[in-house]
């Protein structure tokens, strides 16, 4: 390797690294120091305390928040990928309908989440929403179903909306991957007498395995950053049944003005997620890093 190449390389990546350090790492560092700072009456009072973390440990809501966050991120990611795979498989079929759908399916992704969150909240309301009304009119349910008011339902309903927003892109990626499965392999499996399910299991899946894991990480990153959907739709209610990290951090910092604790929570959140993703990247380093290149 030429020495000049090395300089060239650093020069080429410098703008990207600099931008990320300045606008992402900098503020993140700020949050990290704040998590170790006592904040009283909106004033920073003394660095070097674990008080914020202790307060979190003592907070009865925090346990619930962790559980809900697990549903949100893990359940959301899992469903996003599985539903995306199902829809992607469907879209991979050649027909006029799938052709149109492939273009229109991106609509949920194009609209700002502020708008889609409000629209869903409005539609889902058991009494003044179109979905609640339709369910009752068609006799599917006898009583009003309160999707966002029922603590048993709310978290999963939020996940359904989340998937609505994030799944289309996953489906398109997987659709593209499925369509690139070599025809000769498919044909060979067919000759061997494999039925559709077996062909999917033994030919398609191995071929799209990497795409699957890639969209898994991408979805997880998206879902972590998603905040407006749950905040606008439920504000963490009812009775904290849909309180997740993102909403609780927001509440602690901007409603309670308690940004020491909010920062501590952000740090926990980041460490947990970054380690999951780092682990993933490490395990799959062959496919995304240099060794994967041909």
């Amino acid at each position: 390797m030429l020495r000049s190449d090395r300089f060239l390389a650093y020069a080429l990546i410098l703008p990207v690294v600099a931008a990320v350090v300045a606008f992402v790492v900098g503020p993140t560092y700020n949050v990290a120091t704040l998590s170790l700072t006592q904040v009283v009456m909106g004033m920073e009072r003394g660095f070097g305390t674990l008080g914020n973390f202790k307060a979190l440990a003592a907070d009865p809501v925090f346990g619930l928040v962790l559980k809900n966050t697990a549903i949100w991120i893990l359940g959301g990611t899992f469903l996003c990928v599985t539903v995306g795979l199902a829809v992607g498989t469907y879209l991979a079929i050649d027909s006029r309908m799938t052709g149109w759908l492939r273009a229109l399916i991106l609509l949920p992704w194009v609209l700002p989440d502020v708008v889609t969150a409000m629209a869903w909240k409005w539609m889902l309301h058991g009494q003044v929403g179109i979905i609640g009304q339709t369910l009752q009119n068609t006799g599917l349910t006898e009583d009003t179903v309160s999707f966002l008011g029922d603590p048993q339902l709310v978290m999963w309903v939020l996940v359904v909306v989340l998937i609505w927003r994030k799944m289309p892109l996953v489906a398109l990626i997987l659709c593209a991957a499925i369509r690139s499965v070599p025809d000769d392999q498919m044909e060979a499996a067919r000759m061997d007498g494999a039925n559709a399910v077996e062909r999917f299991r033994f030919v398609t899946l191995p071929n799209i395995a990497f795409s699957l894991t890639a969209v898994t990480v991408i979805s997880m990153i998206w879902i972590t950053a998603e905040f407006a959907l749950p905040w606008i739709m439920t504000g963490g209610g009812p009775a904290n049944a849909s309180q997740i990290m993102a909403t609780y951090i927001y509440q602690q910092s901007f409603e309670f003005f308690n940004w020491g604790v909010a920062s501590a929570m952000s740090v926990i959140n980041l460490v947990m997620l970054a380690s999951i993703v780092a682990l993933y990247l490490y395990i799959n380093r062959r496919s995304w890093a240099s060794e994967g290149s041909k």
Binding site: M41, A55, V128, S146, D150, E255
Partner: protein, 438 residues
């Protein structure tokens, strides 16, 4: 107590800074220069009129360069906080009365007494004294109210009431239960109340709790009092209404916020609803629904350990001046502009009928009389504000209200008894508030 000392010292410093900066202020010179103003949210009419009147201000004060920004109401606290932390807070911010203790305690806003000088006399003259008081904190005026909202009120569908055989609105909690039960039909509950996490929904409940002698926080002792009997019994009242079968399903209540409740009532889907003083006015009701609004009936025997109040009130468009304003004279001029009758009359029924106006002159408006005959009558008799108190306000109020919101939802959903839910909320909120207050 250590926290009150530190708070006072903190306030002292802010005031001292104010004194140093403003004592040598130039006397009686017309204000000039640049000021920025941040307004957050509001009813559509209010938002529209506010911008229009700003033009009148600029015409009247050609030397003042007014820089007005309107923001979505939902980002109020984060925007103000961000501005404060970076020393970029607008000269005038228009926020909630419930914000005052925190903003003052953090040193974000300054007492208007220090900068408005003799203008204050005019404000006192033009503004209803009880409403004026809602801008006062620790003996000083921190915010100029333009109107207030009061909690809690009851909207009644008159046809439903008469059909159930009543000839006057209910007057006690027991009567409300009785009325609600009698007015309930299979497809139309007798009463609805909002129970989401929205702050207004929590304010509506607080109106009931305060009327029952409850409080959510005792400033004297620094203790959260969510489990005071007054609050517990008020929550029991909600639960009783549900158990009577007079409301929509409990899970529906926890997803129905005040605007949805208003819609249900306005469309004849509920015979009564508990709300703030504006009730249905921002949205209207179907033409075939005859309705009236009355102050929320009171409990027969208030059970809380504090003084029962008749109503709680708060303004959500109160003008405050940043403690770091570089141009306090011009800021005071702007505040003074909004204390004039022409401006305060915006809330006198033309165009805005949804609020309780702050300006004395606004009360003479025919439009207001037409929309709210009962309110105007009570005002003329001097009873409207009698026994009223400000909505909860102290440092950490959001943390306690949020814990209260959780407890309300738990009780409404039947997950916990009111006492148990509020005991837990008290403990949780106490932890939060100790942290915030140090």
């Amino acid at each position: 107590m250590s926290n009150s000392i530190s708070r006072r010292r903190f306030l002292g410093t802010t005031a001292a800074v104010g004194a140093v900066t403003f004592l040598p202020g130039t006397p009686a010179l017309a204000a000039s220069g640049e000021i920025s103003v941040w307004k957050f949210g509001g009813t559509p009419q209010e938002v529209e009129v506010w911008a229009q009147r700003n033009e009148a201000f600029s015409e009247a004060n050609p030397d003042i360069d007014l820089n007005y920004s309107y923001f979505n109401g939902q980002i109020r606290r984060q925007k103000i906080l961000a501005g404060f932390q970076t020393n970029r807070l607008a000269d005038v911010i228009i926020a909630f009365g419930q914000d005052i203790p925190e903003f003052a305690g953090f040193g974000m806003i300054q007492p208007l007494d220090d900068i408005a000088g003799d203008k204050i006399e005019g404000w006192k003259e033009r503004i209803v004294s009880e409403v004026y008081e809602s801008g006062v904190h620790e003996g000083k005026l921190y915010a100029l109210p333009t109107y207030v909202d009061m909690a809690s009120f009851l909207a009644i569908n008159l046809d439903a009431m008469e059909e159930a055989g009543f000839d006057r609105p209910p007057e006690t909690w027991d009567e409300v239960r009785e009325y609600a039960k009698a007015m309930t039909k299979p497809d139309r509950p007798g009463i609805a109340f909002p129970a989401t996490t929205a702050p207004v929904d929590i304010n509506i409940f607080e109106g009931l709790a305060y009327a029952n002698g409850g409080r959510i926080f005792d400033e004297e002792t620094g203790k959260v009092t969510l489990n005071d009997k007054g609050v517990v019994d008020a929550l029991q009242f909600y639960v009783d209404l549900i158990n009577d079968g007079s409301t929509p399903a409990n899970t529906s209540l926890t997803e129905t916020f005040f605007r949805d409740t208003a819609q249900l009532f306005g469309q004849g889907r509920s015979a009564m609803w508990i709300g703030l003083s504006w009730l249905n006015t921002p949205w209207g009701v179907n033409e075939d629904v005859r309705w009236t609004g009355v102050p929320m009936p009171k409990p027969e025997n208030p059970s809380g350990s504090f003084e029962p109040v008749s109503a709680i009130m708060d303004g959500t468009a109160m003008l405050m001046v940043s403690s770091r304003s570089k141009n306090p004279e011009a800021a005071a001029e702007y505040v003074d502009f909004w204390s004039q009758d022409q401006q305060l009359e915006v809330w006198g029924g033309q165009p805005e009928i949804a609020r309780i106006p702050a300006g004395k002159a606004a009360w003479d408006n025919a439009e207001l009389k037409e929309a709210w005959p009962n309110w105007v009558k009570a005002y003329d008799e001097g009873t409207l504000f009698k026994g009223g108190a400000p909505m909860p306000r102290f440092i950490g109020v959001s943390a306690i209200e949020s814990a209260l919101g959780t407890a309300i939802q738990q009780a409404v959903l039947g997950q916990k008894m009111p006492q148990e839910a509020l005991d837990e909320a008290t403990a949780a909120a106490q932890g939060q508030i100790d942290l915030i207050r140090g």
